[in-house]
């Protein structure tokens, strides 16, 4: 800790603090900060990832039909999203369109994955930051207020006070936490009905789905889906109560994790009536997706055109352990299949040249390179974020106003959803309105609403799949051949945000394969222009509300900011100085 004098003459207590590893995420991330305890704000933040495997290196030269099996292994929680994205990409390269039932199977599997992922991440990982145990250790004053604040929707979810909700979220003892662990199991069973297993599926293939889909498969899915609807009806109002309380109890909390509304969403869930997987028609079928693709700069929806989006992607270096590839060899792709010029820093042309070295926060400090969106109008590279997935998906879909499934409708400013009557609860209407801020609370809130959204997408596709099966159209896969040369892209959404796979095939083998998952968009370090990545930017804007001083500081506000993005790479935040001494006794639940 040190005391420094600012240019205005103010003496402030500044302390470097790091957390490494950040837990309750999948993957390796470190957050390194400098905190001003006099003004209760974060001055600087560095985001670092310690993991490198080199998929794009060892995939060179393999049979393109192996790509989905291999790339699934990039991630242990969104592996199926990668597998699906790779198949969409391969469908484009091979010019194959699955039978309708195959497309519905993809949508049923992926919506079940979102139902699983958002449930387990929100309530068994991220919301532990809002649990009674955590609030007691960081903001006892807030907990005291929560004890006496009635939950507005208690008649629906059954928790009388806000503190009761917080207790329900305690890790491994809270009843909502424990229920969510169960929910995260039967939703993965739903996935396995079509995917074979989770998270690395065995049936999701280019050309369609190799599951043997019968009336039994669909019935097994239906029963679990309606159980999940019931869960959503209780979950959404409960989370609204909790998050609204934080705004009320801690005025100014909207600035925690706040950043400019610079969002990206690649869209998901293709409509088999429109999709042909071709690049040439991607603009049209992209807009027919049940989650709309979109690019947002400064709170304005710039485009919903996947071709325009594709051409604006740039991979920049700067603070990552890689060497530049531009100029070292001929670019793979100079023009896209429509004849548009392609930048040397576009993923189709990216090459991975690792250069391991010591970590230096003044120089290179991460294995993540900096993905940016090029804003041609203003000639700038924007560090867009995925809003942790649901926030950007709903933001774009709501504003674009293109989705209308009857019980799920985008209005231009909101998303209206109607959940059907279930065994124990009546029909329920929900409306998610585009919020004023892009911040931690709203990313969390969007995730709980997106569970209902995903369930309704599942319901729509399930009914359509029943029509196919009842009519005897049970074929779910179509034959294809691998061309000698191809350029292709798959655009999809992982649970936590945008996911793209760019591929170049030469002589029937993979010449270049570049997967871009959501977390590299969110967790990246400063780029060559010095622009910080979204975590860095969001944490640097975060005011400190924690009641603990520098000596026993837990950094919960920073944790909430980072967790709101649903990080999915091993990542961490280090603690310098005199950190809190860990109790050697163990929690009664046995979880460390």
């Amino acid at each position: 800790m040190s005391t420094i004098e600012t240019p205005t003459g103010q003496k402030v207590v500044v302390k470097e603090m790091s957390w490494d590893p950040i837990t309750r995420i999948v993957g390796s991330l470190g957050i390194h900060t400098e905190i001003d305890f006099t003004n209760q704000k974060v001055n600087k933040c560095y985001s670092t990832s310690m993991l490198f495997r080199g998929f794009d290196i060892f995939m060179k030269g393999i049979d393109p039909r192996d790509a989905h099996f291999i790339t699934s292994r990039i991630c242990g929680i969104c592996g199926d999203n990668h597998c699906t994205c790779s198949c969409l990409n391969q469908n484009m390269a091979y010019g194959v369109k699955p039978p309708k039932l195959g497309d519905y199977a993809f949508n049923l599997a992926e919506s079940a994955d979102f139902m699983f992922d958002h449930a387990i991440y929100n309530d068994c990982m991220a919301n532990v930051d809002y649990s009674e145990q955590m609030v007691k250790e960081t903001n006892p004053g807030v907990l005291a207020k929560a004890e006496t604040t009635s939950a507005p929707h208690s008649a629906i979810h059954g928790y009388k006070t806000i503190a009761d909700i917080m207790r329900a979220l305690n890790a491994f003892t809270g009843d909502f936490y424990l229920e969510t662990l169960q929910v995260a199991r039967y939703t993965r069973e739903m996935y396995c009905l079509f995917g074979g297993r989770h998270t690395h599926p065995s049936t999701i293939l280019p050309g369609g789905c190799s599951a043997d889909i019968t009336h039994q498969t669909l019935t097994d899915y239906y029963v679990r889906l309606m159980k999940y609807m019931d869960y959503c009806k209780r979950s959404v109002p409960m989370h609204d109560d909790l998050y609204d309380f934080f705004y009320e109890a801690l005025p100014g909390y909207e600035m925690v994790g706040f950043r400019e509304t610079d969002l990206i969403c690649w869209g998901a869930f293709d409509d088999p009536d429109y999709v042909d997987y071709s690049y040439q028609n991607m603009t049209d079928w992209g807009r027919r997706r049940f989650v709309t693709p979109g690019l947002v700069f400064k709170g304005e929806l710039i485009t919903t055109d996947l071709v325009e989006i594709n051409l604006a992607i740039r991979i920049l270096l700067g603070s990552s352990y890689f060497e530049d590839w531009v100029g070292k060899s001929e670019p793979f792709v100079k023009h896209d299949p429509l004849g548009n010029p392609v930048d040397p820093r576009h993923p189709w042309n990216k090459q991975t040249l690792p250069k391991p070295q010591a970590r230096d926060f003044a120089g290179k400090y991460s294995w993540v390179n900096s993905a940016r969106m090029y804003d041609a109008k203003n000639d700038r590279y924007v560090a867009n974020d995925t809003g942790g997935g649901p926030f950007a998906r709903q933001w774009v879909t709501a504003k674009a106003g293109l989705v209308d499934l009857g019980f799920l409708k985008a209005t231009g400013h909101s998303i209206q959803m109607v959940l059907p009557k279930t065994g124990f609860m009546p029909e329920m209407e929900l409306e998610w309105k585009v919020p004023q801020w892009s911040n931690a609370i709203e990313r969390q809130r969007a995730r709980t609403y997106h569970q209902a959204y995903s369930a309704l997408v599942g319901l729509y596709n399930l009914e359509k799949a029943f029509v196919e099966v009842r009519a005897g159209r049970t074929k779910s896969w179509n034959h294809f051949t691998v061309p000698d040369d191809a350029v292709s892209v798959g655009f999809h959404e992982a649970a936590r945000g945008v996911l793209s796979h760019h591929m170049v095939i030469r002589d029937g083998k993979i010449a270049n394969y570049q997967p871009y998952p959501p977390t590299p968009w969110n967790a990246n370090p400063r780029d060559l222009h010095g622009t910080p990545g979204p975590y860095e930017d969001a944490v640097q804007n975060t005011p400190i509300f924690e009641e603990n001083g520098p000596d026993d500081f837990k950094g919960v506000d920073i944790m909430r900011a980072v967790h709101s993005f649903d990080p999915c790479l091993p990542c961490g935040v280090h603690m310098y100085g005199k950190g809190k001494v860990r109790k050697v006794v163990h929690t009664p639940t046995g979880m460390s």
């Binding site: 590893p21 999948v26 993957g27 290196i57 387990i120 069973e189 779910s476 979880m591």
Partner: protein
Amino acid sequence: MAQMEFVPNQAKTEAITAHVLWITVGLSCEGDTVAMTSATNPSLEDIITGAIPGMPKVVIHNQVLAYEYGDDFTQAWFDAEAGRLEPFVLVIEGSLGNEKINGEGHWTGFGWDKATKQPITVNEWVDRLAPKASAVVAIGTCATYGGIPAMKNNPTGAMGVRDYLGWNWKSKANIPIVNIPGCPAQPDNMTEMLMYLVFALAGMGPVPELDDAGRPTHLFGRTAHESCNRAAFYEQGDFATEYGSDNRCLVKLGCKGPVVKCNVPLRGWQSGIGGCPNVGGICMACTMPGFPDKYMPFMEEDANAKLSSNLAKFSYGPLLRWGRRNSVKRKFDKEPEWRHNRSELTSGYTKNW
């Protein structure tokens, strides 16, 4: 009243606290930890809440699930290194990169060295903790044999835990490294094996019997094909010609099940649901030491399978199929003739009224 003992020495064994230090960030995707949360036989909650009589108290230190973060999380790891957590099982998920080839850099790590401010590599944690661990478990195919990160042309020199510590390495409790392969490992295989080991450490049972590849024999003794519900189609020389609705044997579409040690077709994926060929997926051999390189391209038929499947297809297979279908059609699909609604009893019973 004295407390009832349901298993021998229950009070004594339940008083033991066994720690599980679970490294999630080898060169991995953490899919094993994620899959483990779907286990039900036993579930994670069953293990940590002591749902099984006599089972020692288990404390799991795993980055994906931990309440603590930052230094609060790594403290337990330093405690274990200093001998303050006893006994503990070291679980490793992910392959180990070769950290001797990258100068001052690192392939993967967690926590940081307060003196150098550099990350502590996973290999360094293994060096520090393996000698103190009662048992070392490699979970998932990356940790067992190298897996996908150890594919041909990989830049990191990735390898499995036995490649790193030595194939004959034994823990201080004289237990060899237990390998639970799978990509990811089948959820119940992981939790069941943890329970097995914890019982063994408490002296309540033997250590698991392992085969030459370090796998528990009761889980990996059979091939996928030997427990596959489509295997009879192979026997009858009847093979699927396209993925999906054709529910016959998948070998000609690339299934590697006949040469893969795996219990997924038997156990299902989770709660008995799913499992690759059970649903219609080819076995891609993800549990095997030769995975993935020796089985690629996955969607093509294995050369040996081509020979043996053709043998079945063009010789005895059609005969078996014809014989069975015929006997089903002519004999077993027909009820015995005495079941009718005529005004007579023809079942063979001699009525006495």
